[in-house]
Amino acid sequence: MTDRVALVVAEPGSTTAELDHALSAASFEVRHHDSGELMIPADLVGAAELVLVSASLGLRQVALFGQGLAAAGAGAAVVVFPQGDYAALETCAQSGFDYVTPPFLPSLLQLRVSSCQERSRLTSVVEEIAATVKLREYERDLSIAREIQCGFLPDAFPTRDGWQFAARFRPAREVAGDFYDGFELVNGRRLGFVVADVCDKGVGAALFMALIRTLLRHTAEHTGGWSLADDQPFGLDPASFAGPTGMLGSATPMLSVGAGPLLHAVTGTNRYLARNHQRQAYFATLFFGVLDPVSGTLIYVNGGHNPPLLLRAGEPEPMLLPPTGPAVGIQEDSRYLIGTAQLDPGDALLIYTDGVIDARNLAGEGFSMDRLLDHARQPAGSAQSLLDTLDDRIHAHVQAAEQFDDITMVVLRRADTADA
């Protein structure tokens, strides 16, 4: 029979026969400690389940014993008992110590011991709960920030016959700095699409995301024309100028419908951020495309963003749309050029953020551009299925590893004439 050990610390020279007897009857092995010695030996501390200290030793002494036990990491319940001085017992009890009084009946003693132990357990549970509540509050703040952020994402993309527009948005554990947007321009003649990545993550990045998205959309929607008299830091990118003849005849993107809103939005946002938020040193990479759904012509500004992939029907190799200017928010007078691309029936444009390329598996290996290009070479179905299969592939790579960065993907696809 493994006895539970009860340690009795009594007044020097006194006996605690009644108490000892009751303890034994309650299946305790009784040990004594000389109260003259402040330090209770470690082996006794470790073994004792219950420590009974005489109130007559005085509150201070009792407290010292209690502290000593706590410091030694003992799980024992500390209980005071009287040795004739009930005033002393009162003092200890008022100070919060549990106590037992004669007669020391074994059953009563047992009950009292149980309740002392339970109280001690309850105290540690309460401490755990307090820590959890703090954690929950933090998580609640994060989820509020994420809700706000979701409010800045479009409920749905605009729709057009012959086109599929789809998006996938997976923020990392913390609040995202990525965003995407899609809206009509110039009385619905054009559609604007934005994918952007604010540097850093967390609540600060999310707030900047909201600011940038608002500036871009508001400026684009409310810009009239740009004027040839403007001395703007924007122009035409001769390298990407491989546009169609289409409606414009001589095909110059600067004269396209939507060029004004596009350029004003990007340069205006860049200037505002660089001027007013220098101290915070936030910046964002962005891709802003303006699509003519009738002709399939896309004019765009790529501000330091990952080059979107243009997947052309019948051509195995995807085409990259490289940057036409720097990230926004860094320098006030940054220069942005317009690039052009053409989406014919069956073609698709895949716009994505860093999070796709950087998605890491447990070995720390990133998804990488190679895998993305490889996936893009496979024949794709609808915009939604292209996103689904790419997402599956990313998941297959990452598996159990924690998501490190926000993942955002947008697909614009022009339906094939053969599509159902």
């Binding site: 004027s227 008299a229 414009l248 005849g249 001589s250 004269l255 396209s256 419908v257 939507g258 004004g260």
Partner: protein, 256 residues
């Protein structure tokens, strides 16, 4: 192919609208399909030069620019001005119809500039035009500059002896900004005083503006019919004919 002719001037009163109206009639009478756009949103006047009653106009360029309709919905067919049996056609897109409220909103520049360019080309396509003339308000205003930006031929109209901005590179710099080859620059010296030596006026003006002089036109009375002394009217017609010939030569090609 696009055959857009921008007609502009630095100063007012150089007779642009009348010139555009006369050229349009002349070329249409020769069998061409001609479009005329009044891009003078601040001071519409082309319809008057064509003898139209402003109150009769139902639709205008501004309706298209503000998103109310497509540009081809705004044109007026001027068949009534054509000789009977003529194969050519003449169409007008007036600038504004709501002259009463013209002062309430400054329309100039208050729209996506791409709409102008796209609209010009759409008009050419839908109406199968051989030539499209853009009449503008004087000076370096928004619509004039965008007309030049779109143009294949740029006619600067000036008055004889006028001392005004003579930038030789103006049109070329606009074209460079938008990444196009510059329009062919022509000069028309208009409203030359009576009994002027038209040839020497032309030589002087050409040197001053560093442009090819396409025509020197004598001043006659404003209306198309009542011209004044015979020889002036004859001179005008000859000059206009010369100009029309030149435009036909300079234009890249005719629509099918």
């Amino acid at each position: 192919m696009s055959n857009i002719v921008a007609v502009h001037s630095w100063r007012g009163g150089t007779g642009k609208s009348t010139l555009v109206a006369r050229l349009g009639c002349l070329l249409a009478a020769r069998g061409l399909r001609v479009g005329l756009v009044d891009a003078s949103l601040q001071a519409p006047g082309l319809h008057e030069a064509l003898g139209l009653d402003g109150t009769q106009l139902r639709s205008c360029l501004w309706d298209y620019l503000s998103g109310a309709c497509e540009i081809e919905d705004t044109h007026v067919d001027l068949a009534a001005l054509m000789p009977a049996g003529c194969a050519g056609r003449l169409y007008l897109v007036p600038a504004r119809t709501d002259v009463e409220v013209i002062t309430l909103s400054s329309a100039s520049g208050q729209y996506d500039a791409g709409l102008l360019h796209e609209g010009f080309h759409r008009l050419i396509q839908v109406l199968r035009l051989d030539l499209l003339f853009i009449d503008t308000y004087s000076g370096a205003n928004h619509e004039a500059m965008h007309a030049i930006a779109s143009a294949d031929i740029d006619i600067l109209v000036t008055r004889a002896g006028s001392a005004e901005n003579r930038s030789a590179t103006f049109a070329a710099s606009i074209a460079a900004k938008v990444g196009r080859t510059p329009p062919e620059p022509l000069l028309v010296v208009n409203m030359a005083p009576p009994d002027t030596d038209l040839d020497s006026v032309g030589v002087l003006a050409g040197a001053a503006y560093q442009r090819t002089v396409a025509a020197v036109l004598p001043r006659v009375h404003d209306s198309l019919d009542d011209g004044g002394p015979e020889r002036h009217v004859a001179g005008l017609h000859a000059g206009l004919g010369q100009l029309a010939d030149r435009l036909l030569l300079a234009a890249p090609g005719r629509a099918g």
